[in-house]
Amino acid sequence: MKPLSRRTAEPESAAFPTRPYDLLKEFTIALVVVALLTAGLAALFSSPDDKPVTLAAWSAAAPGDFTATAVAELGATSMTAQYGPPYNDTPGAGQKIGPLGLQRAAGVRIPVDTAEDFVLRPLRQAPEPAEVTAALAAWSAASTDRQQTWTAAYADALGKAPNGDPTQVAPGDYGPVPALAGRLLTLAQAGGLDGQLLAQGHFYQTDYTKPVLFLADGTYLAGLADGQHLSGDQWGMMNETGNYPGQAWLWLYTFWYQIDPFKSSTNADALIWALMAVLSLGLVLVPFIPGVRSVPRWTKVYRLIWRDHYRGQR
């Protein structure tokens, strides 16, 4: 079968018989119909608006998770601390498409030092009890190895405490870590940490990168999302809270995360983005892709669309 482009030149539409048509009237009617339909759907179904999770709400509802996350930020073992570009330069971090490492090539453009940005600076900037001043001094004076030994030991002890409750951690050599994490928890529960992570020395601010990264490092936010069918293995971000259609048009992007080899790959995000880029380019270039551009002729759906025309030709 010859592809469409090799057939004889298409005739001009102006050469065919015509019928009366009122473009502006059709548009006006369509606009009114869509506006009424929108008004009706909005009145019937409204729109979802679940409140965002604040650091205050998180630390009050799950102090164990908050403390464990704060300790991981301090010891540079959290997801963000190990993320690589664009947040930090963790060796070996960063996804690849085959040999192509675009994530690392982009570099560290949004620097995040989890210990400094999420824990130490907020503690220094808040009214500082004497024991916290001493804890901050002890932390600064210690070597990196010593700091990591403290945080690892405290993280381990937190994991063994009933419900991860920081008040029930077994005694041990944790250095200043319990004092730092405990003070950060108090600050967060009082609502001070939300503003500190956002403002970071500015008055006006619209960048929520740091608070969201900190929140996402814990398990509390993910637990809430899972309960709202928003996790990655639940077709993730194409959904939204409640029974709303969400971004149904992202189904193909989300689909790849549900199947192998993507769902088990450490480069899943990069591979799926590369695949979607190719497919998107393919969509734009359909008229030039042999085979694909002939699908309409093979499927013959067009005979249904133009059935009156073909019936008249018989």
Binding site: L4, E10, F16, T38, S47, V53, H309
Partner: protein
């Protein structure tokens, strides 16, 4: 030999005149605002193009209403909540109509007869719309935007885009959502519609022009 006076008149007007002559030659008024269409244009599938444009108008209008009071309004006002719902549902309708329109044009092989650019601008409109809707979800300032931005950053960071297009930066995403992407989408949609008007509605596959006398004038 042409009349020098006529030739001067034809070429008058400098750049402005040249652009006007090109525009009128390319899209004469009867093509731009036609009062007839080919008789073969007789299917409900054709309605989805104008429905898509209509829904886009409602999306932009409701977005402008939200802009009047700012991004926090709809969280604290019942009127604002309703306007936000209008915006959400007009987007859902817009995407639904556009996808049906796109599939319809695919099965018509609507790129035939020098209409490839019409298809391409339409496909890019679809991709730009996905981006515009996505940034809308990121700027809702609620749990959805918190979660979606946290998830979406990984895909964008993995291919290096996240270093410049930071989905966790509310201010940046709001600007993309209410300025850059609407401008791009509006411009592309305008170009797409003008291309449709310029090339006309694609004839049926394998259609041949009726011979004179076979058809009694207009249907």
């Amino acid at each position: 030999m042409s009349d020098p006076a006529t030739s001067r008149e034809v070429r008058s007007g400098g750049w402005t005149g040249a652009v006007r002559r090109y525009a009128v030659r390319t899209l004469p008024p009867e093509k731009l605002l036609p009062d007839t269409q080919p008789a073969y244009m007789a299917s409900w599938i054709y309605v989805f193009g104008v429905l898509t444009v209509s829904a886009l108008v409602v999306v932009v209008a409701t977005g402008c209403l939200l802009a009047l009071e700012g991004p926090g309004w709809w969280h604290v006002s019942s009127v604002g909540k309703y306007v936000n719902s209008l915006h959400l549902w007009s987007v859902e309708l817009f995407m639904f109509f556009m996808v049906i329109h796109l599939w319809g044009k695919f099965f018509m092989a609507a790129w035939r007869g020098r209409r490839a650019m019409t298809w391409m601008t339409g496909a890019v409109c679809f991709l730009a719309s996905v981006g515009a809707a996505f940034t809308g979800y990121l700027t809702q300032q609620n749990f959805d935007s918190q979660w979606i931005s946290g998830q979406a950053k990984d895909g964008l960071n993995a291919v290096g885009i996240g270093a410049w297009f930071n989905v966790l930066d509310f201010g940046q995403m709001l600007m993309w959502h209410i300025v850059l992407l609407p401008l791009a989408l509006g411009g592309l949609t305008g170009l797409h519609v003008l291309l449709v008007r310029r090339r006309g509605i694609v004839p049926p596959i394998d259609a041949t022009v009726p011979t004179p006398g076979a058809v009694e004038g207009r249907l």
